[in-house]
């Protein structure tokens, strides 16, 4: 951990106006005893985005959406194959928080979507100096599992996830 913020002056954006969806609740509440099945409701990028947009940045009291770390366009979903791909853009080139953001995304997705979904998380190309190394670590499930057993790291992730309750609708 470095002293002082990596990015002391982030650019903050307005939260995009939320489109209201019919039958508001998230499509895959998890854990849930019975899988939610609405033939008309196809899991799409917006569903995934809705689950992660309010995650708080590890360093600033703003959501990942507000800091333009994430957008709906940066998410791809294939429900049939059971795949989710997320690309995120750290606010600065030398962001040591990238792995923490990646962890937060993984935990939130594990909580919101069925366990068989395969999730790939990457930083957007060109956004980080050590892009390859970070992507490798973010997608090594053994490293992720071990990191989440680290109480300090787990606490930081939980803070980023649960403070989003301030923003929930």
């Amino acid at each position: 951990m470095t002293l002082g913020l990596i990015n002391a002056n982030p650019v903050v954006h307005e939260r995009r106006e939320r489109l209201s969806r019919a039958d508001d609740p998230p499509h895959y509440p998890y854990p849930h005893p019975h899988p939610h099945s609405h033939p008309d409701d196809v899991l799409d990028a917006l569903d995934v985005f809705d689950s992660v947009r309010d995650i708080r940045d590890p360093e600033h009291p703003y959501s990942l959406e507000q800091l333009s770390v994430l957008s709906e366009e940066s998410i791809t979903v294939d429900e049939k194959l059971g795949r989710i791909q997320i690309t995120f853009t750290p606010t600065v080139q030398h962001c040591s928080m990238a792995t923490v953001i990646g962890l937060c995304l993984r935990v939130k997705l594990m909580q919101c979507f069925p366990p068989h979904f395969k999730v790939d998380i990457k930083v957007s190309p060109g956004s980080l100096a050590n892009e390859e190394a970070v992507n490798k670590q973010l997608n090594d499930k053994e490293r992720v599992a071990a990191a989440l057993e680290n109480p300090n790291l787990r606490q930081l992730v939980d803070e980023c996830l649960y403070s989003s309750e301030l923003y929930s609708y």
Binding site: P115, D140, A146
Partner: protein, 351 residues
């Protein structure tokens, strides 16, 4: 009739449930009769911090006979039996390796190996019974010598990998060790005849036709002249040591060369591969599929090659972390998954 030439299928015999988290590793007891006359024993280790032992009963079904818990404080990542079948080693993310001894129908923790700075990823017992090896995210491989009275002395701390070491495996015949890593390389370690110093005798990386991403597992064939590695680069690689093999010549195992690469069979990281005594290679991957490969019997002038015998899609509901052949019954295979289950399979010829 040779199995390898006929059509086969993989029949699911049983699904073992009980672990409360993903199952990371499996190990068949090589001498189960030494544990109270059992006919087959399978150890499984999990993110639920426990190790379970499954024993085959009179009806050929497996039941969970033992749960080893309250010892490791984090994920148990890997387990390995001693050649005599009476000891079991468990490696954990809590940075320790525990040694369990079969005593009067139960398993007692008789030793704890400490020293790694962080998560231990793998443990392996040499076939001579003399050595244990462990590896860790701390980038090192440790070699431990088994002493009388359940004592274990660390005889070497091997540095060389530049990243997390994922797995270590002893050669089936001689005291030569192979390690595979997040640094994409494979390293071969042996004892210097004169000085009893362990050192790296060979490194197989991308330049030597090696893997382009993390190498997750390594396994030898029963004669010890071939090994298979599996990787995040979505391939399996077969390696061959062409030197004459004798029981005592460890130098023969320091010159491995790339024989063959199997690609296009798995769409996600291949976490595990294992070689049966009959020569069938099983692989399990993050695409939930299980594959079987055999050597192509053909023109003896050409380089040996391997072909797909069978692919079982959706063998599990989630990633497959480990595949292990039963050493006592070469048609029986066990697989372990993120879905928390273990499956027992039988390879059968179909007419």
């Amino acid at each position: 009739m040779e199995l390898l030439d006929s059509n086969v299928d993989l029949k699911e015999l049983q699904k073992l449930q009980g672990h409360a988290d993903r199952v990371w590793g499996l190990a068949w007891n090589p001498a189960p009769h030494n544990c109270g006359g059992a006919s087959a024993m399978l150890a499984s280790c999990s993110g639920d911090k426990t190790l379970r032992i499954w024993q085959m009963g009179p009806t050929h079904r497996f039941d969970c006979s033992t749960i080893l818990e309250d010892t490791h404080t984090r994920t148990v990542r890997s387990c390995a039996w001693s050649p005599c079948g009476k000891f079991l080693a468990t490696a954990s993310f809590d940075s320790t390796t525990a040694i369990w001894k079969y005593v009067g129908g139960d398993f007692e923790c008789v030793a704890t190996l400490e020293g790694h700075e962080n998560e231990v990823k793998s443990v392996t017992w040499s076939s001579s019974g003399t050595f244990l090896a462990t590896c860790s995210r701390d980038k090192t491989v440790w070699i431990w010598e088994v002493q009388p009275g359940d004592e274990y002395d660390c005889v070497a701390v091997l540095q060389g990998h530049s990243q997390d070491v994922k797995m270590v495996q002893w050669h089936p015949l001689v005291d030569v060790l192979v390690s595979v890593s997040y640094d994409n390389s494979i390293k071969v370690w042996a004892e210097d005849g004169d000085s009893d110093d362990w050192h790296c005798v060979q490194t197989l990386n991308e330049g030597s036709s090696g893997h382009a991403s993390t190498v997750w597992s390594v396994a030898f064939n029963s004669s010890g002249d071939r090994m298979v590695t599996s990787s995040d680069d979505l391939t399996l690689k077969i390696w061959d040591t062409s030197s004459a093999i004798s029981q005592t010549d460890t130098e023969g195992f320091a010159s491995w060369r790339h024989l063959c690469t199997l690609s296009g069979y798995h769409g996600r990281t291949i976490f595990s591969a294992h070689w049966s005594s009959e020569g069938i290679i099983a692989s399990g991957a993050g695409d939930d599929a299980l594959c079987l490969f055999v050597e192509e019997k053909g023109n003896s002038i050409e380089e040996p090659s391997y072909r797909l015998l069978l692919k079982k899609e959706k063998a599990h509901d989630m990633d497959i972390n480990s595949v292990r052949w039963n050493p006592k019954d070469q048609r029986i295979l066990a697989s372990a998954s993120d879905d928390g289950t273990i499956k027992i399979w039988e390879v059968r010829e179909i007419s």
